[in-house]
Amino acid sequence: MLELLPLDWAWAIVLYWLILAGTGLLMQSRPRLITGLVFPLGAVGALAISAVGLMGLIQPASHFILPIGLPDLPFHLRLDALSAFFLVLLGGAAFGVTIYAVGYLRGMERGSLALLAMWYHLFLAGMTMVLLADDAYAFMVAWEVMALSSYFLVTTDHDVPEIRRAGFLYLLIAHVGAVSLLLCFGVLQGGAVANASAYTFDYMRNAEMTPFWASAAFLLALFGFGAKAGLVPLHVWLPEAHPAAPSPVSALMSGVMLKTAIYGLLRVTFDLLNAQQGWWGTLALALGLITALYGVIFAAVQSDMKRLLAWSSIENIGIIIAGFGLALIFYADGKGALAALAMTALLYHSLNHAFFKGLLFVGTGTVLHATGARNLGRLGGLIRYLPWTAWLTLIGALSIAGLPPLNGFVSDWLLLQAFLLTPGLSQPYLNMVIPVAAATVALASALAAYVMVKFYGVIFLGQPREPGLVHARATKWPERFGMIWLASGCVLLGVFPTQVIGWISPAVLLLTGQSMVNDGNWLTLAPVDADRASYAPLVFLAVVLVVLLLTFIIVRKIYHGRVRRADPWDCGYPEQTARMQDSAEGFGQPVRQIFESFMRVERETPDPFDRKPQYRGDSRDRLWLLLYAPIARLTDWISDQAGRVQHGRIQWYLIYSFATLIFLLVFVTR
């Protein structure tokens, strides 16, 4: 009897997805089969891969050599606890999103549906291979498969010029990042040219490196993975690419693909490099905090719902990277238990973000399908017409806002606990600065809650801002089921943190050499010391439910119990129209006022005599102007100069080769 390890299952599923990708392309003339069969089968694969991940978390690491690739350079695969954790994340989020896609993609134009089916499954396979790769070669191949397939997914509607532009920007930054990663692996190899196995991660783990080269490798990795994750200032592609992509794709890219960058960063920093330095952590912490704050500020002023979520993804990545920096600081300082705490927080937050951001993105997809509008100014009051979507999205919004007992709270809270424990550090300077960092994280979380109030309130509450919204009709069952899956993920991850942390701990153990100390019991979560702080989500949930129930009973039965329907008091305004509501721009106004120096605001104020006045305020990223526009201008200038060589006259071209010939002849005879 052949015993199959989790790793065997994992790459079998990769193969299965590749076959599905091919099948999807072949079924071009049968669009119903693509949505009815290919995508559900893909979702089964996703469920299976998360089961494989759960198995992999409890089993020891396994290796496998896949004899494909170049001669003498086979692909090395490995499944250890870290890969397994990210496989759970990938499978869990991808299952819900893929099921959702079954409903969402019905009625799509058939040619692009077949292509979408191919790229979608190729994308899943690529991400899984990134997690399984155990050598630089396989990793880069998988990384590029992931980048290219997601590029084609982003440009699904490629007849729109803006989408083509967004796709190009994404591809450009992805490639700049990939070059950096290639250099990083080159450095990690330590110049061992003669050694044929130097490209494997096993070799890199044991390579001796001087501190200088180790730092170079870390910085290259931070740049390369930062470009994929959306670390400021490499974030510019995110707010462009996410609105351009179809909603399930945005959900996957934001929920899962950004996490592969986190995975890579953890893999290189904690696994492949073996002498971590404290200042790396400080750098990552600073960049992460800047990213978090920058992302949330811009999220607050957006008026396009998917763009808002994209900026919010940047914020969450910032928080994750800040946690990474903190873990690195602790680890380099020899505080294993605290490093484990920060690491747990960051892994937990990655998992949470996959679920709630996936949920929110598919929620916007449903709204988009039902109303055709992405701009918040054209939505409103949808809770009456799309009740399922509204309630499920509410769970996602509450999670991302960090409200107990949902999952966002757990990871935010763990991270803040880790920050508050820093006085144990041996560097007094860091001890002084890190409370400020903790305050920044708290500020970002608070602003995130503000963003979510805006997001949810403007879309679902109040009155419809357009008359057509009344006809918005909801969702098919696959869509609902996908959203229910993601929402229950949010709830369960929030209510059972102790158990989840137990699952994560092999990955944390692998990275930091310790697992998080939970001083509480199965019911309460108490990092490090139960006397300091503890959190019992089940108790909290029970209390909330009991209080709700009691209130309901008291109001309904004991107080007077009658239901009276009447017009509400109209505050002295007998005419209440939808235009009197707070708009998305209005909601973001305070944040825009405070942080105006970060952004360039373009306003169009209406004419006083306009019968139908429209206000438009657009806040642009100033970093684009400061950093990217000069580079773009320089590139243009250089290519203009190079273009002068092209005369169109054959004689001139002949002179070029003639001069080269003469030069080479002179050069040879010297």
Binding site: H647, R649, Q651, L654
Partner: protein
């Protein structure tokens, strides 16, 4: 004794080759250019045959025959017909005036001789002193391609360059292996056919064979 006698003839033919190259630089009419090209081929074929006879390198006879058939008979005949058909036998205006071209040519010859000096000392052939002439022929043909603005003279310049290379190969190493030479000859033949098809296409598109019209093709 006979070797030096043959060598003198080869040197004479080499000098003729160089002279024809200069003549081609100064020739204004296309028909004259083709005639000169035929004469250059004839000189080349003769010198190759003499080298073959004097050194006993039999494969050079084939090279000489190939040159004779292709470059003295077939291609000039082909070009005469082409010129008649395309009706382009007019004075060719050059990009740089002819005296200046000649002066540049002289500078190139000096450069080529300077260049060939160390190489010819290494070569072990009887006619190594002609290597400088061979190189000068290549460079002069290149110069002709640069200075002419019509398509046919450029192709002739290209073929003259090939002549120079052939001569260089003969003088430095008694020619390339026969297979290579056959291949090169075939390439030249096919090249001429393809280019003549281009001539018709260019004329159809631009109503002229003047290559300055092709400037329009560049981007922006």
């Amino acid at each position: 004794m006979s070797l030096t006698y043959h060598l003198q003839i080869v040197n004479l033919l080499a000098a003729l080759l160089l002279l024809i190259s200069f003549a081609m630089l100064s020739q204004r009419r296309i028909v004259g250019l083709v005639t000169l090209f035929a004469w250059q081929g004839a000189a080349l074929a003769t010198s190759t045959a003499i080298v073959a006879w004097s050194t006993g390198q039999h494969h050079l006879y084939y090279s000489a025959a190939l040159t004779l058939v292709l470059k003295v008979i077939a291609m000039p005949w082909f070009f005469y017909r082409l010129i008649k058909k395309l009706d382009v036998d007019r004075d060719v205006e050059t990009m740089i005036n002819i005296p200046t071209t000649m002066l540049i040519g002289i500078a190139l010859v000096i450069f080529a001789f300077n260049l060939a000096l160390p190489i010819s000392q290494m070569a072990g052939t009887v006619m190594r002193s002609t290597l400088g002439i061979a190189m000068a022929t290549v460079l002069l043909a290149f110069l002709m391609m640069i200075t002419r603005s019509k398509a046919i003279p450029q192709v002739i310049g290209f073929l003259a360059m090939e002549n120079g290379l052939f001569f260089a190969a003969t003088s430095a190493t008694y020619g390339m292996p026969l297979v290579v030479e056959m291949g090169v000859a075939l390439d030249v033949l096919v090249g001429v056919f393809v280019l003549s098809i281009f001539f018709f296409q260019i004329r159809e598109t631009f109503d002229s064979l003047d290559l300055k019209h092709m400037e329009k093709l560049k981007e922006r």
